[in-house]
Symmetry: C2
Subunit: 534 residues, 2 copies
Amino acid sequence: MQHSVLKASGHVDRFNDFMVKDVNDESKFFRADKLLEDVMDEKLKAADLTEAQRVEYTSVRNQADAYSQQELHQIFQKYKIKSPETGNDLSEPYEFNLMFPTPIGPGGYLQGYLRPETAQGIFLNYKFCLEQNSNRLPFGVAQVGRSFRNEIAPRAGLTRQREFTQAEIEYFVNPKNKAHPKFKMVKDTVLTLFHSDAQLSAQEPVKMTAGDAVGQGLINNETLAFFIVRTYQFLLHIGLDKEFVRFRQHLPTEMAHYACDCWDAEIFGSYGWLECVGIADRSAFDLNAHARAAKCDLQYKESLEKPIEREVLALTKKSGVDIMKAFKKDGRAVKEFIEKLPQEEIECIVKQLEAGTADVQVDGSSFTLTKELAVFERKMEKQTVNAFTPGVIEPSFGIDRIFASLLEHVYYARPKEEPGDDKDKQTRGVLAFAPSSAPYKCVILPLDQRIARDERYLTMMDAFQVQLVELGLSFTLDESNATIGKRYSRNDELGIPYAITFDFDTLEKDLEDLANTKVELLKQFFQAEPPKTK
Amino acid sequence: MQHSVLKASGHVDRFNDFMVKDVNDESKFFRADKLLEDVMDEKLKAADLTEAQRVEYTSVRNQADAYSQQELHQIFQKYKIKSPETGNDLSEPYEFNLMFPTPIGPGGYLQGYLRPETAQGIFLNYKFCLEQNSNRLPFGVAQVGRSFRNEIAPRAGLTRQREFTQAEIEYFVNPKNKAHPKFKMVKDTVLTLFHSDAQLSAQEPVKMTAGDAVGQGLINNETLAFFIVRTYQFLLHIGLDKEFVRFRQHLPTEMAHYACDCWDAEIFGSYGWLECVGIADRSAFDLNAHARAAKCDLQYKESLEKPIEREVLALTKKSGVDIMKAFKKDGRAVKEFIEKLPQEEIECIVKQLEAGTADVQVDGSSFTLTKELAVFERKMEKQTVNAFTPGVIEPSFGIDRIFASLLEHVYYARPKEEPGDDKDKQTRGVLAFAPSSAPYKCVILPLDQRIARDERYLTMMDAFQVQLVELGLSFTLDESNATIGKRYSRNDELGIPYAITFDFDTLEKDLEDLANTKVELLKQFFQAEPPKTK
């Protein structure tokens, strides 16, 4: 992605993490916020912790990635944080840009970066997508693909990688109307919400319906809440445990200045509560940034059913003519520039003129207006079009993190059946994938070797496999000579939710029965609930 | 992807294109092979072309990207090729590496590149994938994703981009047995084959069944031919016109030295015959390269059902003991090194010893053997395991090129119905997508505005939309007040293969009938043939 795009979006200037370095060993560097979190976690483990300390450390930990450079420095001083292994002093926090740079083209003249998020590609195509939607709002655009961030410390398996899979939806809305027509279908869903006040005062999350959360102003608007519930439904559908999914609101300090509200779906696992999806109301920030940089109009023109009358300040007709004359060849441009100015700026010029003169910049040149030349009058104007930059609600999914969490949630060890069981008997693991997320949907098992070698089985299998392929159901075979029990058990370990066993009865059936099995399977896959895991 | 991986694969050293520069204007550079093709195409257009010239120019054009640096230089001299716009002289061809470099990590110590193909990731995971297939050959691994090549001259729409979507299958086989069990299912498919002899002698492609092509040795083996047919079937399934799909064999000079055979699926369109899929038998090159670089054993160990006896040259027991003593602390290493040498190298050492001494390099040190010290004997050895590096058959799909070609093949302009038709009547385009490739599978149309506003329609639509979503069928609505004919026509232009019209009869039906429609739709999508385009 080219420099100009990521300059406009703010990534070139602001997509940074704070780093600290060991002053005696440059090869030891740390992400300042992660180091601070670790230090606070350590302090919270102390046996003689007072309640005041618990609240203080928890609050600092929760804000770790929201501090400014200056604040981080002060906090590192306050808690005397040193380089973890060596105990040496640390440098002051400094910024490190997380994008991977690369030159584009054989001349190497064009600076590019690997995209740090999929979102920017959607903003670039906003105007085209709006056209595809017959110029109607609201509409959403979704993309899934790789994003790249030059993480200072990749860690924790799939949870912090330099190359990761991201899925983002940019949902463009009228900023004055963020109601969602389908919100009524999801408003009774109960969510676990951890709002920012609760985090700052070290309280617990609360359970509440989406409808109440919007009603009480906890979640900013219906569209944001709609996507929070849809995210929740998706996470449960693929098999995550609902007791271990919660939504955490960003702290006011953590949120970008332009954002209205932002919630993370957090999933609990080996690394604690892990941020896996971010659902943000980014207001009109991105489209405005690109419109400014590319000098193109991305405003949405809404035809008003009933025109509105409003009082405006405008040049008098005579003054318009005077200006055209006064500035000769530039006259028309200056007049049109003034006519298109927002009302606030015209008010400002009028004030300047009362005190003396006002300068306007048109196409790089400066023109001086006097109160004799530029005369404004207040008049009523009929407005038939309402122009605004659409707001954006953005659910952004970290697919690898969701997948890593899923593996933890669906795994359990099968308990030995009887207290008297053979001690040497292996404890078998089970991956209880929901059909929707299982890599293999079913395993085909001949009951034993007599079946596996039967001519009829081989014939049936040929036809049956073709049917499964047509249904798009991925499957595998286990024709080994292990007992059927052992094979069931090891395919549980592989996370295969369905097994189709061929026994002697099956061989007596004809292919039509098999075809029915096929329809039966199809139904199961459309209706299947995730299996109970524990 | 790290430097070491792409160094091992040969991309760092050899993933180059030849460039030429305008000697008076460094900002004008060209891909040498593409420029040569353009020049030959121009010459082929001459009115007074002799048959000898036609053969010569066609042959040069067909080999353009197969010439060496030296050959290219000579050819550019021979035809006096100049810089196209300026007419200036051109530099000699020089190599330009097509990978995008980027530093990895905050220290910037690790050199990385954007992957130039998806294949290498599969080779890195070969061992893991083999285990997942219960250590059985053959098996295939497929991947789809973005690849990046710093093209000298991106051009021609989607056909030559710096970032593109690639889908690759690496199919690992026993190099001594490239028969394919399912080949019998595809052997009668007739293919248009453009073999290398035909290209060099400026002849036409031939039509032939896959079975005959393998039988006559035109296609190297069954597995390669199987994937050629499957590629052909895929291309037709998504809606390409079979008259404009052919398979072109790589020229011996164009093919990598290790490759057995390679065929490109070429699709005809605005840019002529365009290479869209490459289906190559890459032999064991890639796995051997990575095994050498990573110093790990990627050989496949095949248990032989019946052990083979074969005569081998081996150190005598006494000589083994002597060597261990002679080289002291290095003795064991030297003995084991000699024992593991391939038979050809042992033969070689024996010959050297007959003439004097032989040196062996073990762990960076040199050891001198004499014929008194190293005594070999011929003995019979029972072999129960056959070890080899698997060969690789690689179908590699350029998704964007296929998609661009598809758009051209499915597009046609609908002829005006009557000779007397209104002259101003717009000629309507149609995108006759096959259901499998259509972005929207169906459009829902209320017959007119009376229906669109009927309460029963709105109720039915709510339920019906949910059903279509459950089926995973993408759809759109067209409820505008244009006539039904106009709406049919404009949705043809959008490439929507099915339309579901709601009329007054529909409103009398109940939801159960709609459910039947659903099943009907499902059937259609599983069985649909691509529509006839012309």
